[in-house]
Symmetry: C2
Subunit: 262 residues, 2 copies
């Protein structure tokens, strides 16, 4: 498949079942997002959790009304039930199955949230000439649980999950500047340097994703990560919830540049 | 003396000889600058050197014509020959004397440059709640020669001098964001972390200024420093040159906030 396929065409291939893979690298230039769908009696608390923790949980879209499965603000003819390559179904906080379509699970009380994802800022870093190690090495970005507490909201709480990209300090400074322009896709890093400062005991054993090489002269740089809300959902244990499967994102019609605040 | 004295009133006290001290902390909120005065046959090359090395040598003002000693763009009734508390006279690159007035040395071919100074961004850091260690400890900021080459221009060349402020990584990230708004006072840091990466062998022995405490969990953060042009002048050895004495700056009528690009 052409990596420059339009978001609309890509969603059509996903809907028809012709594509069910990782969306990383496809439809370059357009926002991809993390998905969270839950019953309305949980949605207000989740929205509050996101608003209190905007770095790990930046809301870039949500359904206008419970039960809505079309999200026209995010994409032409976008149907959230079928346009993501792979979904995860959670019941009472437990992952029960992975599916490629959730039409059979849809309910009139479900509220959809789309949260910003690091793909957008990685594209901006690369456009500026910086290396993004997980992309160079062709693996998933390494992610770690930390001791950085999220601000709780109702039944949602937990600690922040971070992603890590090693960089020379000079490049890290530039990355901080670039990512500051994109607060809705995790913004500037939370930390750099000593992993133990934020409760990471072994940088070579990420809790999610894959380890990457850290070269001499580089420091690990840590960004708030969109896995944070998934962990909060697992802890809160709503009776029913749908998320995307990691790396299998919603591809929107929104240009990444629209997320830049300046 | 009241630290909130207006820049105009402070310059009058300096001109009359009633004040000849360090200007740090006085006339809060107003730009203070590094001074460099040299013959016009050297001035074009120096200006080019500054334009090629804007982080250590940010020009925020210069005299309109050779011989001008009034700089109305920088301050009301500002006379560069008398309104700085302490000057250094260099002959052939050698410091020959320190004086409190340079009227007796003035020549019709002298061109004045005012370069941005870290006082402006330190004020912005403190206003945001960050600690600036050299201010907390009441000493001059530690400064170091590095192996970061400046881009040469004519007879001017050299390596970059940096100032260092220790910070927790989280605060360093915030400092990078704040200083990015102030490119004309050295802008974002050049480096953080391992001093040897930039040719500093002993962080506890600065080449200029005073050592400061680096606490556990903090990293040294390095900014390009206005001593860089002084070192370049010493190496270029113009036959005659005037600078301010460290810490004894020109206090202008320009609000620090005017230097913020956003």
């Amino acid at each position: 498949m052409d990596v420059n396929i339009s978001p609309y065409d890509l969603r059509q291939l996903i809907r028809s079942g012709e594509f069910a893979g990782n969306t990383s690298g496809y439809s370059k230039g357009f926002v991809q997002g993390n998905l969270a769908i839950m019953p309305k009696e949980w949605a207000n608390e989740f929205l509050q959790f996101c608003q209190l923790n905007p770095k790990p949980c930046p809301v870039i879209g949500m359904s206008a009304n419970p039960g809505d499965f079309l999200l026209p603000d995010l994409g032409k003819d976008l149907d959230i039930r079928s346009d993501i390559p792979r979904y995860r179904i959670y019941e009472n906080g437990k992952l029960t199955q992975e599916v490629t379509d959730v039409r059979q699970f849809w309910r009139d009380d479900l509220v959809t949230f789309l949260l910003g994802c690091s793909f957008s800022f990685e594209e901006a870093l690369i456009a500026d000439g910086l290396e993004v190690r997980n992309i160079t090495e062709g693996v998933n970005v390494p992610m770690y649980r930390t001791n950085i507490a999220c601000r709780p909201a109702g039944r949602f709480s937990g600690t922040t999950v971070v992603s890590m990209r090693p960089m020379k300090p000079k490049d890290a400074i530039r990355a901080i500047q670039i990512c500051t322009r994109f607060p809705s896709v995790h913004g500037a890093p939370l930390h750099f340097g000593n992993p133990e400062d934020i409760g990471i005991s072994n940088i070579n054993q990420p809790d999610f994703g894959d380890a990457v090489t850290i070269n001499k002269g580089e420091v690990p740089v840590f960004w708030a990560c969109g896995v944070t809300p998934q962990v909060a959902i697992e802890q809160a244990r709503p009776p029913f919830c749908i998320t995307h499967s990691p790396g299998h994102m919603l591809v929107t019609d929104i240009p990444n540049s629209h997320l830049a605040i300046m």
